[in-house]
């Protein structure tokens, strides 16, 4: 233990916390739901089931890759269901499960917070950029 640098202690702390972190459920799901596309998809599915292409249009900015990928993740986590209708062109609908629905208040709250405080943030940014520009 002697002759230990700050860096070493930091590494130790990290290793020690790794175990703690693995046991922390909040951390695990936080990483998951703190995802840009998850939030957006959940919100898009709030009003009811949507088709794959609809989601692509509504979310607008998501790549097909990420849309598929995120939907698969949400399906795996039991937040959406995937229903394939084998019609002429295949049709796939995604719908929130109760678990997914239980996340909606959070998503809505986030949306509301964003809408309420965006001006403050813009002001803060302008101020920060102005002071930092030549200092």
């Amino acid at each position: 233990m002697p002759t230990q640098t700050a860096a070493q202690r930091r590494a130790d702390a990290r290793a020690a916390y790794d175990a703690y972190m693995a046991a922390c459920p909040a951390r695990e799901l936080l990483d998951r739901i703190s995802d840009k596309w998850v939030t957006l998809i959940l919100n898009a599915l709030a009003d009811g089931p949507r088709r794959y292409s609809d989601l692509g249009r509504i979310i607008a900015g998501v790549s097909q890759k990420m849309l598929t990928q995120t939907l698969r993740g949400l399906e795996r986590d039991g937040m959406v269901t995937r229903t394939v209708t084998p019609s002429v062109p295949v049709r796939v609908d995604y719908e929130l499960t109760p678990l997914g629905v239980s996340l909606l208040p959070l998503v809505r709250a986030a949306k509301e917070w964003a809408e309420t405080h965006i001006e403050e943030v813009h002001t803060a940014r302008a101020a920060y950029d102005a002071t930092g520009e030549n200092g």
Copy 2:
């Protein structure tokens, strides 16, 4: 306009929504607060001001790079204040602003949701992995 493929229409839709997206405040901030480290830092600062190194220890898993980077972003957005105390080794404290505090309920709600529903997610994952394994 004729002879337009689905891909082209998709590109059009994307371009059209770009304008809409830029005007959508929720989207802009959602991307911001839907960040793993933002959530974690906000939570770590919930009980009061913290030093840089404390944050690194508490959050445990964050790299110094991301810690600094995320803190700068939050400072720019007016959610935390950065206070330098020019003592023997420099000391820097970060503290939530009222704006940052206003995000706390959201963060806490997310944490609670995660803790409440983690089992459901684990079950869903196990079920998904089991069915998908050989099909």
